[in-house]
């Protein structure tokens, strides 16, 4: 109960925070999808650093305009916002261009070029901000961490709607429109830039356009939610969606959903988790944590969940499927072995055969846990009866085993017909292939070989 206690004081402020977070995250996730697919994920991160320089420049410009009496102090704020977006977009495109030029003219490897450019420009921005901080009242900490908790307090007129909702909402709508309208152009230039250019979609224009849009989105979001959230939301939701689907439209939709979900999860956990954890380790007086940080962490949590539990590419499902396959192979090996012993026993009355069979069965139970598990499954299915090292095929089991042995021997015959291999080699190959031949393929094999009666070792092929 204590976990949800903080939620009882839920106010409209919390709802606004979640809404602002969700809008900002969704606005970032849209260009992020294409950055991810173009393998330029770090470009977004770099731009989020360098746009600090654009922001500082915008502050200078608007400050200077007021000093020069071009604009009145009253309009300064709105001018500044436009200037900030523009400045960031320009610096964003500039840093992309500098990176590319360094690669091209200086033969610098791409990630090194990116690193040099973004650290240098960021350092420059940081220095300028510190140098003028007294004059223009901007706080690098605020740009960096953002103050999403404070964002709802600044409302537009009498509507009571926070300004940040408008800003992030407008950016989201612009990005959505761009994504929908330019969907096929964005997709092609990400997938195959060379073809894009031959189809009249200049790849470099798309590249710089995307960089500009990314930078503008980042800056608009910065102001309300801070750069941490932005860096995380640019790539993590798209990457999570990428693990869940194979279709681009679905990936974009999912990444929007994940972005919004991270916002909800993030804010709720910012209110609840820290208190609980802090109390349990005995640190008092902790009531909440940075919402932006927790939103990023929530996105990360969703990513790790998708990585582990995703239906198709998830680790758990892949391990499970592999386990199932290995189990099937192991149980088919048991069936095949028993069938072959039955076959030999019917052909000759050799006494040693019985001892050999008993030894083989005993080895089954002492072998890997997989074989033991396979035997257990076969017993449950009633394809085997008996217990321990004394098991027999049932009729159903014999039927399954016959198909299997048929596959094995048909494959051996096929290899013998078409390839020159030592006879020992057929068996190895057939041991593996027998598990994967389906009825259609078996029929085709049968036809190819003119319905053979015996395999290359002279043993009968069961029908």
């Amino acid at each position: 109960m204590s976990l949800f206690a903080p939620l009882q004081t839920w106010t409209s402020l919390d709802t606004w925070i979640i809404l602002i977070g969700a809008l900002a995250a969704m606005a970032c996730a849209l260009p992020g999808c294409f950055l991810l697919l173009r393998r330029q994920s770090l470009m977004g991160d770099a731009i989020s650093h360098t746009s600090l320089l654009g922001i500082v420049a915008a502050f200078f410009v608007s400050h200077w305009l007021v000093e020069a009496n071009v604009i009145s102090p009253a309009t300064e704020l709105s001018v500044r916002h436009v200037a900030m977006c523009l400045g960031a977009a320009i610096v964003g495109v500039l840093s992309a261009w500098m990176t590319e030029s360094l690669q091209k003219f200086g033969n610098v490897e791409s990630s090194a070029a990116l690193g040099v450019v973004f650290t240098s420009l960021f350092a420059l921005g940081l220095l300028l901000i510190r140098a003028v901080a007294d004059d223009v009242h901007i706080d690098p900490d605020c740009v960096l961490y953002g103050a999403i908790e404070m964002a709802p307090l600044e409302t537009v007129g009498a509507s009571g709607i926070p300004r940040a909702v408008f800003v992030t909402g407008v950016v989201l709508v612009i990005n959505l429109l761009l994504t929908v309208m330019l969907f096929k152009e964005l997709r092609l230039s990400a997938f195959d830039p060379a073809l894009a250019t031959t189809q009249g979609i200049p790849a470099h224009v798309m590249h710089y356009g995307l960089m500009g849009v990314t930078a503008m989105t980042l800056v608009a979001a910065f102001e309300s939610v801070g750069s941490i959230l932005v860096i995380a939301m640019l790539i993590i939701p798209p990457a999570t969606a990428y693990l869940l689907t194979d279709r681009l439209p679905r990936m974009i939709g999912l990444s929007l959903l994940i972005a919004a979900l991270s916002s909800v999860l993030g804010h709720v956990s910012a209110l609840t988790l820290p208190t609980m954890i802090a109390e349990s380790v005995g640190i008092p007086d902790v009531h909440d944590a940075s919402t932006a940080g927790m939103m990023a962490a929530a996105a990360g949590f969703l990513f790790v969940s998708a990585m582990l539990l995703g239906p198709k590419y998830g680790l758990v499902s892949r391990v499970w499927h592999r386990l199932l396959l290995r189990l099937r192979i192991a149980s088919e090996d048991v069936l095949g072995g028993l069938y072959r012993f039955e076959e030999s026993a019917a052909a000759s009355a050799d006494v040693s055969l019985a001892t050999e069979r008993a030894a083989w069965l005993r080895s089954l139970t002492t072998q890997s846990w997989l074989t033991r598990l396979a035997t257990w499954v076969l017993l449950r299915r009633r394809w085997l009866i008996g217990s321990g090292s004394d098991v027999q095929l049932t009729d159903a089991g014999r039927e399954a085993a016959r198909t299997l042995v048929r596959s094995h021997r048909l494959w051996e015959s096929f290899l013998a017909k078409h390839f020159v291999l030592g006879t020992g080699r057929f068996h190895e190959s057939a041991e593996q292939v027998e598990h994967f031949l389906d009825p259609a393929l078996l029929a085709e094999l049968d036809q190819d070989l003119d319905r053979p009666g015996v395999d290359p070792h002279g043993r009968a092929i069961p029908n």
């Binding site: 330019l182 997938f191 009249g200």
Partner: protein
């Protein structure tokens, strides 16, 4: 030296007549490569290539690894810069004739994990026709399906591309080129790493293209099948060794020249040109 005036007369007259001749056939020739030189970091990888492709033929570019086959195609399509020379498509620069030129890149050149279906990839060949800002309409999806049908891949239209085998991926690329409905196709190793069935399917498609008057220029590796598949051969090893109808050009003698080691001195000098200070 005494004869030189006579020879010079010819030399004076020859260029104009040659120019006229070129003008006359230009409209018909799908591609005219004139004196193209390409250098990577100042080091020439293609020297002074001249070639004029005949229309409606299947043409193979053959040469050893590193002989500049892919580079030649990319230089023609402005995908790598040319140090010298010009390329004309149907008598005009590439910029004006893009829509008539299709390109099938090497299979390894794209990210096969990209979230698109086979149908999406084929439709990409028609984006120029669809135009900016417009979605891929039903009409174009149908056309893309037809193209997939022609390469026997219509059943796989909705598969994600990484769930296709190598041969199937190559066929999707081919279908995309068909959907482009170009007059001249460049294919970079269309037969690389494909199964026998795909190889047959590709050859069939190439022949159909030729029937309908298209020209195909393909980088080809398998010397065994050149005679069977291609009408014309371009033998390339940093320089143009020979070019013309397969029967005339694809001779053991020419092949020896092409594959008999790179022209050693040429290579060494290319190295020097990359570092002119060494003198």
């Amino acid at each position: 030296m005494n004869e030189s005036p006579v020879v010079d007369q010819e030399a004076m007259q020859e260029p104009p007549t040659r120019m006229v001749a070129i003008d006359a056939v230009e409209s018909a020739s799908p591609i005219l490569i004139e004196d193209v030189t390409v250098a990577y970091h100042r080091r020439p990888v293609l020297w002074n290539i001249d070639y004029q492709a005949p229309s409606g033929k299947l043409i193979a570019i053959v040469g050893p690894n590193g002989s500049g086959k892919t580079t030649l195609i990319k230089a023609a399509l402005d995908l790598v810069p040319r140090a010298a020379g010009q390329v004309l498509f149907f008598g005009e620069p590439y910029g004006q004739q893009r829509h008539r030129v299709g390109y099938v890149p090497q299979r390894t050149s794209v990210d096969w994990d990209f979230p698109v279906s086979a149908l999406d990839v084929v439709a990409m060949g028609m984006y120029r026709k669809i135009g900016w800002l417009r979605p891929v309409s039903r009409k174009y999806r149908e056309a893309a399906k037809q193209a997939l049908d022609r390469v026997g891949m219509v059943d796989f239209a909705n598969r994600q591309i990484n769930q296709l085998s190598g041969g199937q991926q190559q066929r999707v690329f081919l279908a995309r080129a068909l959907a482009q409905n170009a007059n001249l196709y460049f294919m970079d190793e269309p037969f690389a790493g494909v199964d026998a069935a795909t190889e047959r399917a590709i050859v069939d498609i190439l022949r159909q293209l030729r029937e309908s008057g298209k020209t195909v220029i393909a980088v080809h590796h398998d010397l065994q099948t050149v005679h069977e598949y291609f009408d014309e051969v371009v033998l390339l090893n940093m320089r143009l060794i020979a070019a013309g109808p397969t029967a005339d050009v694809f001779t053991p003698d020419n092949l020896r020249k092409t594959y008999g080691g790179k022209l050693a001195l040429l290579d060494q000098l290319g190295e020097k040109m990359a570092q002119p200070r060494s003198r």
